[in-house]
């Protein structure tokens, strides 16, 4: 037994006959910031979605504090409240205001009172610089703002870990910075565990404790950013990074 937050063992996922994840093994310690990089369609998002069971794994085990998250008596909803997720397409509830987006999970799932939930929501909206927009509806604000609200919505649940699924990939280039600033602040100051699927090499390099490089549904290399970016062991990692960094 270990004190790992997550322990993933021989994880597999197939859609029909199409195998997306093959024998994934890795552990996450509390407080770590881990970036998952790799070309599109390589299973990075599927891995993240298996971790909070938006996708059901088809093989292997995922342990959260040594508890099997696919076990028969596992309380999935309680678990999901502790494992936040930020989506590529934001997925803010379009029928609610910015404030209510950050309140509904707290009142319904955590059973906090409305006034307490609103206070907490305002605190985190302020943290992401969106307090002024609390009465706006999601389709009235920009993509960067939506993503910052989505981060505040997740933070409002006081999660132990946040899964970021390509949080800046759907944004116009000029809006990426404001979201990365929020994530940078969380990575440095919050002590939260973060698993970030990203194409932002600067974030992976400067802010993660570990970088996981994936290809064709497998983990190719899993090491500190200095090793991955300066001295990768695997030629495929080097090839990928050369291509990514050449673009910038």
């Amino acid at each position: 037994m270990s004190d790992a937050l997550f322990r993933i063992e021989h994880l597999e996922k197939s859609f029909g006959t199409h195998e997306v994840l093959t024998d994934i093994n890795f552990t996450v310690q509390s407080g770590q910031v881990i970036s998952i990089i790799g070309v599109s369609g390589t299973g990075k998002s599927t891995l993240l979605r298996c971790i909070n069971r938006l996708e059901e794994p088809t093989g292997g085990k995922i342990y959260f504090h040594d508890e099997d998250i696919c076990g028969p008596h596992f309380d999935l909803n309680k678990y999901r409240a502790k494992v936040g997720m930020v989506f590529q397409q934001f997925n803010l509830f379009s029928n609610m205001t910015v404030l209510d987006n950050c309140v509904v999970g707290q009142t319904r799932v955590l059973k906090r009172s409305k006034s307490q939930a609103e206070e907490i929501a305002r605190k985190y909206l302020k943290k992401v610089g969106m307090a002024e927009y609390q009465s706006a509806k999601p389709d009235q604000i920009s993509g960067g703002m939506k993503q910052r609200v989505a981060i505040a919505r997740t933070l409002s649940m006081d999660p132990e870990v946040i899964l970021f699924d390509e949080p800046t990939s759907a944004l116009d280039p000029e809006l990426i910075g404001e979201v990365l600033d929020v994530m940078r602040d969380l990575a440095v100051n919050s002590g939260l565990t973060m698993l970030v699927v990203t194409h932002e090499m600067s974030f992976a390099r400067e802010l993660s404790d570990r970088v996981v490089f994936m290809e064709n549904g497998s983990i190719v290399e899993d090491d500190s950013p200095s090793v991955i970016f300066e001295n990768p062991k695997m030629p495929r990692t080097r090839e990928f990074l050369n291509r990514m960094l050449a673009k910038h």
């Binding site: 997720m85 397409q89 319904r108 799932v109 305002r122």
Partner: protein
């Protein structure tokens, strides 16, 4: 006796306006309340039909849910697949003959219109639920919300907003379709027209009046529904809340 078309219109209106207005009111409230009942039926049916099947490891629950879903789809098929007029006859006279229940006409109208339109409403609501982006459900799930919480707080408010134009359409259709209830002698607008035209044998004139009255009702209703739709979408602007220490609402 009047000699011109317009002369007859005025004459007939003067003779029958209380009856005609009463008939119009009956048509209006039967279709409105009937559609409201249908809306509730449709909502319940659509929500039940969209619940995920329980796992086969709980066979009793699994088969109960499957049986319920089968009954609900049978209901939708039967009531969509037979004419309203036939349903009115079967339900009203069927109950009278075999169960010895003589439903008051008001209740009978509500049951018939409600059940009939409920079947259409169930399909409208189902498409509304499907129209809500899967990401909305995933976001709710990722917060730890249950299926029912997700339905209540996230999916249904959006689904209902999306289907509102179709629901409005059903109200308008029902204002006209209640005319078939004359077969069980509900004195709605068309039924009143039938008795009024019989007296002077002025069918064209009486039904011109009836047509105009239907049009006024349906046009008014569609304007009202447009307004409701706008209300549901909410204000186009929002206020910036500068000082979050003093919240702008209670």
């Amino acid at each position: 006796m009047p000699t011109s078309f317009w002369g007859w219109i005025v004459y007939l209106w003067k003779a029958y306006w209380p009856l005609l207005l009463k008939g119009a009111w009956t048509s209006l409230y039967i279709s409105f309340l009937g559609t409201a009942i249908a809306f509730v039926i449709g909502l319940i049916v659509a929500v039940l039909r969209s619940t995920p099947d329980p796992s086969r490891q709980q066979p009793v629950r699994y088969w109960m849910v499957r049986a319920l879903k089968f009954l609900l789809s049978a209901y939708v098929e039967v009531f969509r697949g037979t004419p309203l007029m036939v349903q009115a006859m079967v339900i009203y006279y069927g109950l009278m003959q075999y169960a010895h229940i003589r439903l008051p006409l008001f209740v009978a109208s509500m049951v018939i219109v409600g059940l009939n339109t409920g079947a259409y409403m169930a399909e409208i609501m189902r498409s509304g639920i499907r129209s809500v982006d899967a990401g909305q459900r995933e976001a709710a799930a990722s917060l730890g919300m249950t299926h029912w919480q997700t339905m209540l707080c996230v999916v249904l408010p959006q689904a209902i907003r999306n289907v509102l134009p179709s629901v409005g359409n059903e109200v308008v259709v029902n204002v006209k379709d209640t005319s078939v209830l004359n077969v069980i002698a509900v004195s709605e607008l068309y039924f009143v027209g039938k008795s009024a035209s019989g007296t002077y044998l002025k069918f064209f004139e009486v039904y011109s009046i009836i047509a105009a009255m239907y049009l006024i009702i349906t046009f008014g209703l569609s304007k009202l529904l447009e307004w409701v739709e706008k209300k549901m979408i909410g204000p186009e602007n929002y206020e910036l809340i500068r000082n979050e220490e003093e919240p702008g609402r209670e």
